[in-house]
Amino acid sequence: MSQMSYILNENVLYRFDDGTLQLLANDEDDIVLLTPVINRMLYLLVSRQGEVISKEEFLEKVWDEYGRNGSTNTLSQYISTLRKLLGKYLDNSDVIITVPKQGYMFSRDIEIRRHESDVLNKVQEPAESKVDNHADIADVTLPQTKKREKSLPFAFKVSVAVLIFSLPLALAYFWPAKISDKTVYRLGDMEGCPLYSFIKYPSKDVEFEVLNIANELRERKNLDCVNNAVFYIYANANSLHSNSGSYIMLSRCINNAKNHDTCITSQTSRWQQ
């Protein structure tokens, strides 16, 4: 089994496979066991010393590849913890350098060499099951924090939210009026054309009387029954009993192609006759 170990500044031994940091001047009682996350972060930094590692790569290689959820906040907290730890062991507070808007880099000022016993070993990716054995070290343990947000630009999110919420409101504003349908009642035929009334008359006798009124007005206004013609009539109560105050409306609608109607309306009103 391969062992990946590094000696930092000739006085700290870092064993990736064990997840340990050890001051070489001391005995094994001073070994610090790293949490899996800290261990993977340190490995990434040490193995690529002098190279800027982006936050995204940290999140991917330290969390995502191990089925964990990380965030930039979590990363910052762990970096801070790691800084303190390395600062204490290496007596250098600038071991991990922050490169603004790019990521983090392990300082070139720190001398790193592979441990002699490991020189021939091939570098390999860490195994989750291995590092999970070290998960309970109090002084370097950080809580698993909230899920990393692969966030879209804020302005984009706001725009989408505004668009979504404005849809129902826009719909409300532009919703067209629904004009209710008028119920009509068939009174009979005039020369074969159907005659409809806008009101329901109380008896067949009254309906017959209205039919006669319609026929009289139709003849007087030369509204012949032609193909696809339909008549509509409205006669108020006065038109049934007397001529004064009467109001009669008769419409003839001819249905043309494409369901388009052409209507002619005739009205008569009479007073004091």
């Binding site: 899920k147 939210a161 979504i164 919420f165 129902p168 409101l169 719909l171 409300a172 504003y173 532009f174 919703w175 067209p176 009026a177 629904k178 004009i179 209710s180 349908d181 008028k182 009509v184 806008f198 206004k221 509509y232 409205y234 108020n236 109001y247 409306m249 419409s251 609608c253 369901n259 388009h260 109607d261 052409t262 209507c263 002619i264 309306t265 005739s266 009205q267 008569t268 009103s269 009479r270 007073w271 004091q272 006759q273």
Partner: protein, 159 residues
């Protein structure tokens, strides 16, 4: 994350409900173009007033509209040319059937020679500042029945 999604879903549902309520209760705009041919005859003892006109009516969503009226007016053995455009504004009630119309302006074409006295006596609905309540109903899906307080007035063919 689930809480966040629930929150936004709740908010969206709330906005949708408000919008639906707004659709149901707000004064609804109309968007209609129609034309009608109308023959009218009023007999008052020996006096007969009649006209034969066409209406080209446009109602816009912003609560405005206009009516191009062309035709002839007959009274006392004389005939007159009626050719004018009436500009109006309207407000619809919540139910959407009744509409309050108010004439804002009328523009007469050069041939219009109907005496003002006849307009004032028989065609008051053309006069500026006149208000009328009209009811609109669909008829057979392709026509609009326009009614006034006295009953059905005329049928307008949707253009």
């Amino acid at each position: 994350m689930k809480k966040m999604i629930s929150f936004w879903a709740f908010l969206f549902a709330l906005v949708t409900i408000v919008a639906v309520i707004a659709i149901l209760v707000k004064a609804k705009p109309l968007d209609i173009k129609c034309d009608a041919t109308l023959d009218y005859e009023l007999s008052n003892q020996n006096d007969v007033f009649s006209y034969s006109v066409t209406h080209n009516i446009t109602l816009s969503r912003d609560g405005s509209g206009y009516d191009h009226i062309r035709g002839a007016v007959y009274n006392d053995g004389k005939s007159y040319a009626l050719a004018r455009t009436v500009y109006f504004s309207y407000k619809s009630d919540a139910a959407g059937d009744a509409h309050n119309f108010s004439v804002d302006e009328q523009r007469l074409s050069g041939i219009d020679n109907v005496p003002d006295s006849l307009i004032s006596q028989y065609l008051t609905y053309l006069l500026p500042k006149e208000k009328r309540l009209f009811t609109l109903n669909m008829l057979n899906g392709n026509k609009i029945l326009i009614s006034t307080y006295q009953g059905p007035y005329f049928i307008c063919n949707i253009s």
